[in-house]
Structures are given as C-alpha cells and as structure tokens.
C-alpha cells in the first residue's frame, strides 16, 4: 500500500502555506499519497482573487471586507508590516528562484495532491464553491479528514 500524508492547512499565512506546499510536493514526488485539508484561514489560499458571491448578513459582509483571499495575496505570519515586509519577502523569493504559492499549487496538482476545502468553515465565512478555485477536489468536513488521517502515517497541522 502507498504511504499517505495529510496536512491540515489552518493558516492562511504565506510562510506557512509555503512550508506546507513544499512538503506536499516533495512527498507526492516521493510516491506518497497527499491530502491537504484547507480550513479556517487556510481557505484563503484556495480563494479566487475576487469573491463572486455576496456574503449574507452584516457580520459576514464586514468579515469579507477584512478577510481578503487569493493565493497571491497571503500575508506573512510575522513582519507583514502593512504589506511591506511581505512584498520584500516575495521579491527575495523571486531573486532566489523560489516557486510562488500558485506555482507550488500547480505542481502539487500535477503530482496528484488532493485539495479538500472545509465546508464547515466555508459556511461560517460565507464562502461558496464559486469563491474557490476549480482545483479543489472535494468539499467536506472533519469526518472526511479523520477518515483520511487514520489511514496516513504522517499527519501535520499548519
């Protein structure tokens, strides 16, 4: 049986997404089956640049204004500094020929990494399938994650 790894990508920070996707692509290339479960802020990584659906209710609307999504718009977990620190990091990554988040996601998909979006947090944040990129393989909750994790040797939370 193939080895398996699951990642919970809870964080929507650029650095953590980078670490998670780097691990996922390395694992997939080494013949390990990989499932990434995107939940909470991690859903921002799967979001299209602009939200298509209008969130229902004032709280979700305000939340939608504050919580911007999109794989190219992720902030650093430290030294974001209103975007200046993050921009510097992105330029540094380019100079060092690091792949970007969208590039790593594309590579991950080409290696068969599965993306699961957490429906529970999607509901809370007022996100619909239309808000997320088409690369999402499944929409599910905790039980699906656990069913995957219980078959996997490596389970990580980022």
């Amino acid at each position: 049986m193939k080895d398996k790894m699951t990642l919970i990508l809870f964080s929507g920070d650029l650095d953590k997404a980078l670490a998670g996707l780097n691990l996922a692509t390395a694992a997939a290339s080494m013949g390990i089956e990989v499932v990434i479960f995107y939940t909470f802020w991690g859903l921002n990584i799967l979001r299209k640049g602009k939200s298509l659906t209008k969130p229902k209710g004032l709280k979700r609307k305000l939340f939608g204004i504050m919580n911007k999504g999109g794989a190219t718009k992720l902030p650093l977990s430290r030294f974001h500094m209103a975007g200046i620190g993050t921009e510097m990091m992105k330029q540094l990554m380019k100079e060092m020929k690091f792949p970007s988040i969208p590039e790593l996601m594309k590579l991950a998909k080409s290696l068969g990494v599965k993306f699961i979006a957490c429906t529970t947090t999607m509901g809370m944040m007022g996100l619909t399938k239309d808000d997320l990129i088409s690369e999402v393989d499944a929409y599910a909750g905790a039980a699906t994650y656990l069913a995957n994790a219980s078959q996997a040797k490596i389970n990580l939370f980022l």
Binding site: N22, T25, M30, M96, F98, L104, L107, S110
Partner: protein, 62 residues
C-alpha cells in the same frame, strides 16, 4: 526548494536523460539521495565547490 524545482524539471525529462542541478542549499547533500531512493531515480554524483553543489540525476526507466 531545490526538491520542488527538481520535481518540476524531471517531469519534462525523458527516461534515461540526465538532469544537472545547481544548488547553494547544503541540505541538498542529504535531501537528494533520500529523494532519489524514494523515487527510483539514479543519483550519479554530487559535486561540492565553495558551498555550491552540482548534482547529476538520471531519470528512471529507459
């Protein structure tokens, strides 16, 4: 990230072709043999010079 880059390039290669990787990441000395062992690609050589690494990998098959 050298592994991610290697994975990307290896997809473009035909079996039996050799990829030369240039890296300045010391971890490559440990990572590339581990990666090759797991993937079945053949690690031909790792050359080290002034903190830079040149790695030769033959794609499996062919």
């Amino acid at each position: 990230m050298p592994i991610a880059k290697t994975v990307e390039k290896m997809q473009e290669l035909k079996p039996g072709e050799v990829l030369v990787i240039l890296a300045d990441d010391e971890g490559i000395k440990s990572d590339m043999p581990a990666w090759c062992q797991a993937t079945g690609n053949e690690l031909l050589a790792i050359q080290e010079e002034n903190g830079k690494y040149r790695i030769f990998i033959r794609k499996k098959g062919g």
